[in-house]
């Protein structure tokens, strides 16, 4: 039975939620505002910033100095590539753990999660040396591999959680009808887990898109994605607030738009299995 909530209470809750949402969104809004100001106006007091004129000069300057499209392409290749490579490994792994659990499955899952507890800088030098010897420093292939490895525990964990919600009997029925393992995973399990897989894909693309440790440390000029594009406008000596804001807006806009259009899938996937 639904709980009765008075109108005033509802209004209050909505107002609080709206306020919290605004506070969380405010930094992004402020970046957008600064990106349309001149460098001189961008450093003034907040009131002066809001009342000063609007300009596109920062976008023009950023575009003239940096190759946005190259960085954007690298970001797309790295984030999409690492996510799908991760899925190729994670789907079978999560299937086996969810439907054919062994004595140590739980331990293996915890061990995988524990690899995320090590600060990345702890393995920077070994990975740098391996990449140097393999000749994949500053390449998209190198970044796809390293980001896939970094996000793999999360992908496996998410898929494992979703797969566990799917009754094993359905897969068993498919098997009794003569489905091979490949058919079972491809035609029975995957369609049922689409919301879960979709949200895993979306979340990992976002994580890989925003990843700023490996993408800065393993790239130089060729494979640098949008994180390096933003970093090139950050400076402790010199005023680049407007240009830095413009670069940030250009870097987050694609992922923000993608997130906006896919929010339904994202929320459905994240709450998948919450209610039985």
């Amino acid at each position: 039975m639904a709980r009765a909530v008075s109108t005033s209470r509802k209004t209050f809750n909505t107002a609080i939620a709206g306020l919290l949402g605004f506070v969380m969104f405010f930094p992004v809004l402020w970046i957008v505002i600064l990106s349309f100001k001149s460098e001189f106006d961008a450093i003034r007091s907040p009131l002066a910033i809001l009342t000063s004129g609007w300009t596109l000069e920062s976008y023009g300057a950023v575009q003239a100095r940096s190759d946005y499209f190259k960085h954007f392409t690298n970001s797309v290749v790295i984030s999409v590539g690492s996510t799908f490579l991760g899925l190729l490994i994670a789907v079978p792994a999560a299937w086996s753990m969810a439907f054919v659990p062994a004595k140590r499955t739980r331990g293996v899952l915890m061990w995988m999660l524990s690899t995320k507890m090590l600060p990345p800088v702890g393995v920077l030098v070994p990975i740098y040396l391996i990449f140097r010897d393999l000749g994949i420093l500053d390449t998209n292939l190198g970044l796809v591999i390293v980001l896939m490895l970094m996000n793999l525990p999360i992908i496996i964990w998410m898929l494992y959680t979703y797969f566990r919600e799917i009754p094993g009997e359905i897969l068993e029925a498919a098997r009794m009808d003569g489905a091979s393992l490949r058919d079972e995973v491809l035609y029975v399990l995957t369609p049922m887990a689409v919301p879960g897989i979709a949200s895993t894909v979306l979340l990992n693309i976002i994580l890989a898109w925003n990843e700023a440790f490996w993408t800065l440390n393993l790239t130089a000029a060729r494979a640098a994605p949008l994180t390096a594009f933003i970093a090139s406008y950050s400076s402790p000596e010199g005023l680049f607030y407007a240009k830095l804001s413009a670069a940030s807006v250009m870097a987050i806009a694609p992922i923000l738009i993608m997130g906006w259009f896919s929010q339904k899938q994202l929320v459905r996937g994240l709450t998948f299995g919450a209610v039985k």
Binding site: F40, L216, N217, A220, S232, S235, P236, E237, L239, F240
Partner: protein, 437 residues
């Protein structure tokens, strides 16, 4: 006839092949500041002259430091040219991470590079990085506010006590003008760049001749107490999170009466497109207290060729071009003389066009020539560096002390506690590194 044509064609092909072989693709790692942006814009001319193309990797200073350190230490070879500061140049040069740069020829005119700058980038007489621009520190002040308060701008070096009196007289928070803005944000290159020379002025030093840390000395105590009291009384609110950029923005917006910071910021403060106080700003030397030694800092951004680069000759060609007298002239003629890279060459300051465009030129030159990284303190010290100590351990120690002092400024700890914790950490680090037992 046929043979002749064939021979000619073969020779032409060989020439093209030779030209193709000598044209290299260089990767240059650099920081994001106006001088470097101008270099990036003008580098097309270098490409047109030599055929070498450049890939630019522009990063924030601390990210760049970490990125380049990893690459050089692992012999990664990702970069052919790196931008480094006066702190790294002697350390990395001594470690064999950089190629020496003594072979640019007579045309380069090494003697024209200002002596403190040359010395600061050399190890045992060998130059390991060539300066792109150099800076010291001095006091920016608002001529209109001084006039209104009836204060005459100092012509001689004043003491920090006299400076405090001036600051008190021009402090006007009701009109949103603060007596002084100084760096408070923690970091060896942020608040410690200001605090270091101030400690020198108060007679303090980082280490004694046996490398024992002396951060809990009475001199440090007097300097930091002065700094915290001054900033709390006359500084802007939240000063402990203000670095160079924040103060520069505050000063350019007309909200600070005084500011002791990098001479290289003068060009921006004087530029009416970027500053609302361009026509009411003056300069005087950074104050002294018990000594005038080490009272203005010394910093240079320089270009170097890592030993891991496979294209050393082409990289050196670029360095010789970007730090030459001709380059300074090129910037002056194409971007205006006020934008010419400051602080590196005597010829820049001998140029009447520069002197006319940059009224602060003489004060900057004097500040740089007065900075002596080899003798920065009242009492003798075993290290070089005015606002830093040129040893690898300093980065960690400087950052920690910077955090402690920022905490004292924010009121989270007392000056005594901050200095005691700093001393304890410095002793531990220096013991671990084998300097002391």
């Amino acid at each position: 006839m046929r043979l002749k044509t064939t021979l000619l064609a073969a020779s032409a092909l060989a020439l093209v092949a030779a030209a193709g072989a000598s044209a290299e693709e260089l990767t240059i790692a650099t920081v994001n500041n106006s001088d470097m942006i101008i270099m990036q814009e003008l580098s097309d001319r270098f490409t047109a002259e030599t055929g070498h193309t450049l890939n630019w990797v522009v990063l924030e200073e601390n990210v760049l430091r970490q990125r380049v350190t990893t690459d050089i230490a692992t012999n990664g070879g990702s970069f052919d040219i790196v931008t480094i500061g006066a702190y790294e140049a002697p350390i990395w040069g001594a470690q064999g991470w950089l190629n020496s740069l003594d072979d640019f020829g007579d045309d380069y005119d090494y003697e024209d590079i200002l002596e403190p700058v040359r010395n600061g980038l050399s190890v045992d007489g060998s130059l390991y990085a060539v300066p792109f621009y150099a800076e010291s520190s001095f006091t920016f002040y608002r001529t209109d506010l001084f006039e209104a308060a009836g204060i005459e701008a100092p012509t001689e070096q004043i003491t920090y006590d006299e400076f405090a009196e001036i600051v008190a007289a021009v402090h006007d928070p009701d009109n949103d003008v603060f007596g002084t803005c100084q760096r408070g944000k923690a970091g060896w290159g942020e608040n410690m760049a200001f605090v270091g020379p101030m400690v020198n002025a108060f007679g303090g030093q980082w280490f004694d001749m046996d490398w024992n840390p002396t951060i809990d000395s009475p001199e440090w105590h007097a300097a930091i107490t002065y700094y915290v009291d001054l900033m709390n009384a006359y500084g802007p609110p939240g000063a402990s999170s203000n670095g160079h950029n924040e103060n520069r923005a505050l000063f350019a917006d007309g909200r600070c009466a005084t500011w002791i910071d990098a001479t290289s910021a003068a060009g921006y403060i004087y530029n009416p497109d970027e500053s609302s106080v361009a026509d009411v700003t003056g300069f005087f030397q950074a104050p002294r207290q018990v000594t005038d030694k080490g009272t203005g800092w010394f910093w240079a951004w320089a270009l170097a060729v890592p030993s891991s680069s496979q294209k050393v000759d082409a990289a050196k060609e670029f360095l010789a071009w970007a730090t030459s007298k001709d380059y300074v002239e090129l910037v002056g003629e194409t971007k205006g003389w006020v934008a010419a890279p400051p602080g590196t060459r005597a010829s820049t300051y001998a140029n009447p066009a520069y002197e006319e465009a940059a009224p602060f030129a003489g004060t900057v030159l004097n500040s740089i020539l007065a900075a002596n990284p080899a003798d920065p303190t009242l009492n003798p010290v075993p290290y070089t560096g005015v606002q830093f100590v040129a040893i690898p351990e300093f980065q960690g120690i400087g950052n920690f002390v910077g955090q402690q002092i920022a905490a004292a400024l924010a009121g989270q700890t007392t000056v005594d506690e901050a200095l005691a914790a700093s001393q304890q950490m410095a002793v531990r680090e220096m013991t671990r590194a084998g300097y002391i037992d």
